[in-house]
Symmetry: C2
Subunit: 267 residues, 2 copies
Amino acid sequence: MNARRRTVDPTGLDLAPVGPNDRRRLHGSIAHDLAVAIVGGQYKPGDVLPNEDVFSQKLAVSRTAYREAVRILAAKGMVESRPKTGTRITERARWNLIDPDVLAWHFEAGPSVTFLDSLFELRRIVEPQAAALAAERRTEADLQAMLVALERMSADNLSTATSLAADLEFHHALLAAARNEPLTVLSSGIGATIRWTTMVKQRVGAMPSDPLGDHREVYEAVAARNGPRARAAMLSLVEQAQAATHQAIRKGPARTDPVKNVEETRR
Amino acid sequence: MNARRRTVDPTGLDLAPVGPNDRRRLHGSIAHDLAVAIVGGQYKPGDVLPNEDVFSQKLAVSRTAYREAVRILAAKGMVESRPKTGTRITERARWNLIDPDVLAWHFEAGPSVTFLDSLFELRRIVEPQAAALAAERRTEADLQAMLVALERMSADNLSTATSLAADLEFHHALLAAARNEPLTVLSSGIGATIRWTTMVKQRVGAMPSDPLGDHREVYEAVAARNGPRARAAMLSLVEQAQAATHQAIRKGPARTDPVKNVEETRR
DNA sequence: TCCCTGCTTTTTGTCCGAGGATAGCCTGAC
DNA sequence: GTCAGGCTATCCTCGGACAAAAAGCAGGGA
């Protein structure tokens, strides 16, 4: 959570002060923390942040670093700065919700069930069609990539980190095979969803019946250049994933731990 | 093109020095110019930009402003900075192609025909399904918004700026009625596409047969809560738009004027 | 010969302090 | 009551300095 590089921690509250993802720069981690606080509801649309001098001091960083962090958030449509008015959180409708980072921040803050559902809905719309396109356009290399991912998925017991990675790889290879650049971009967003939902399912110990079968069916349809069959298989895959996620959520709460104060995490 | 605020222009080459969109801040216009140069192919993926001192001096701005511009581009996945290595253009696959800004920059640089096609393909995938969802979920208010847009479209002769705005409004209202946040975000991207294609068609003087009829059909299907019909109507609408655009492009070139050097536009 | 360690150097990252530009707000005149 | 003008809070831009990261090189040891 806290990715600040500072080694000393006078408060003693801040566990895991030097995490493994400490390669992020200061402005990056500020943007991250602030963003998580925003999507977590700690700052609401319409709210105005304290002015630069005050806030950067509270975070114990320079105004420069803070401003660069705000630029990042502004680039994703989450805040808007103007002289005299200050920096204000924009309405959610203007956030770039399919930006990979924004999506990741949502999952980190603990996505609401409705948000999760809307993402699955997006997948239900996009991925089947993408599979159909992939069936028409895939090359041997695409097929090979999908096959490798498939094998790596089945090699492990479907619960390890590598099998998750293989899952992501599979979906990415499929999107890539569709030969549509804007569509490919959605891949990382979809990946974020898969990653999180897998984690939830794992935590609850609820492994779906047979996700591998679905994946294999998609692969074979694509290999056979059978668009409609690929579409149907992918639709079934997504729907099963959604059902499994719902089931897991009923067992455990959807929202993870409440977000800490930005001011507190950072000092 | 050049949104810099500077009033004097020693070269005399830079027309329209103070455009109407001059509200952008310096870092914003630098990001804009750089981004257009990148999507225009002036800098290619893998290329390394000159270091901050050199480049910011060449652009005649402070390092601060330049760095903030780079942060914006980095947030959209277009560049990546590291100490010692420098700032390098990332591969296109990692660009956030559905970000409204990135899309707008593409259109400004003159999109390639294949890119345009892939966007229409995305619309063909997303919008019909969105229309179907909208048919199920729309409220009276949604309907009202769509109707207003429809009337404003038909009021003007379908070639003025206000009718274009109404067109955008219609599509946005429809997406909004689908009640799916991530889907709504695509609205601005779709809007950028519509805006640009309309412009092209207009320039060539090729107005499609009857776009209004399609729009009205979509509206009525949504009003009747008839999902399948809404989907079909929207599909037809998008396909017609694509056909009309292709026709227009055959008459005139797709790519607009070549992009100028960033260093030159800015000084 | 090969690898490992430590130094050098280039580039970005962070900090600070100052002044300029913008825009919301209030005051005052008409 | 309305409009013009000044006031001021806030972000914006600037310049300069030093810190940190990391790629590449050189030297030493096995």
